[in-house]
Symmetry: none
Subunit: 139 residues, 4 copies
């Protein structure tokens, strides 16, 4: 099991997270890209809903990557990455894959990190809400 | 028809858009790079006018790519991507191909997205004006 | 419908393709990465089975990308890309995303291209077999 | 005129080259991607015909880039890049943009290099034929 602790998210769980996120996206009427990564920040599952923005494929995956990279939500990271704040400029690291606005949320199994979910397709607030709905289906 | 919906821009249309944009660029006296992408944000046609900046080849293509990625103008995206605004940092996503200043404009066929035009070679305001002239020749 | 013709694969279809491919992978006892792209060669859905190789995440996605890029299987492309054959060297094009061994298969809706499925995690022959099983669930 | 000697191809010429290449492509019944670069190997004009392979966008541009980079056709370069030949491996240089099969042809103005045309969408032999038709419209 390369890159995976025993706590890491399983495929069936990842697919349930995506399903829950899709449902929330449908409720708010905004089609989304939804990605789940394991606790090694590697892609586990992905879904693009009909009519979701093409530019959000990479962003959804990279939001999950970002959350699993630094063990926080991309919403929280975004506050620290504004001009004058301690992590200003972090978004160009890791080959430019670090996303600094909402939509990436950690997946926890008890007190162990299991992975992360990343959502993109609406406003960062909408994305965060949909990611939270996905994460809620996990824990 | 790989990557092309029925609404997507055709080559002859793309060439007319470029011609109209060139004409506007000549009027304002600023040589431009002009790109048209389809609704899958893939390059359909491109032209670089004599003496247009070499650094603007990629920017023109990526402005069109950006508009087709998020279904808005790069001018509008730019406002949302300022420090403290919701999408600050979005320009490093999608392999750094997201442009957050004016010059990328959507092409609509009725209420369906047909693609986008991207212009670079002057100020963002000039680029936007030239892109609008190109788009006006389409719809 | 950005980047999607009416023929393009829908999310629910993509998820069925992945499920059928997973089933075949379980039958042959080899965990796989499975990707589906639309007919604009953009990611639609993805799944990584437990214990599947991490190096195969990108390969699965890029096999699907390759099939949708040139409208053939990566197995067929591989034959044309051998030393002395017409397309030797094609694998370094498109930012190195072209894969020249089996596992990428086209998805056809009647005589229109709907997208492609890419599988990686076993031998190229196993990958191709699993991709074919996925594609069979579509048409 | 950054990157451009007086011999370099002009936009109107590049557009005529593309038109001649399109005509040849229609004659042989194979839709093509056609690119023209200047003698600084930078993109001058591009056109993708309806139904041309998406994977050939980059290849057409990079064939022109390759010809202008080494001042020969990509067909000739391909022979030198086979295993055991002097330039084996050259295709991974220049960020992987070097193409080693037919379809890239130099544009000469008298005995000075004016740029190059690159074509992709059929067999390398077809691509070369269409590129030659484009180049013939120039000199």
């Amino acid at each position: 099991m390369a890159g995976e602790s025993r706590a890491t998210v399983m495929l069936e769980e990842a697919q349930s997270i995506i399903q829950a996120a899709q449902q929330k996206a449908q409720e708010i009427g905004q089609p989304m890209n939804i990605a789940v990564v394991d606790n090694g920040r590697q892609l586990k599952a992905f879904a693009r809903m009909e009519d979701a923005w093409l530019g959000s494929i990479d962003i959804a995956i990279d939001k999950a990557f970002t959350s699993a990279s630094f063990l926080l939500s991309t919403q929280d990271l975004g506050e620290m990455a504004q001009p004058g704040q301690p992590l200003f400029g972090i978004n160009t690291t890791n080959d430019g894959r670090i996303v600094i606005f909402g939509g990436g949320v950690l997946l926890m199994r008890g007190d162990e990190v299991a992975g992360a979910v990343g959502v993109s397709g609406g406003t960062p607030d909408q994305d965060h809400e949909v990611a939270e709905a996905g994460a809620a289906a996990f824990s």
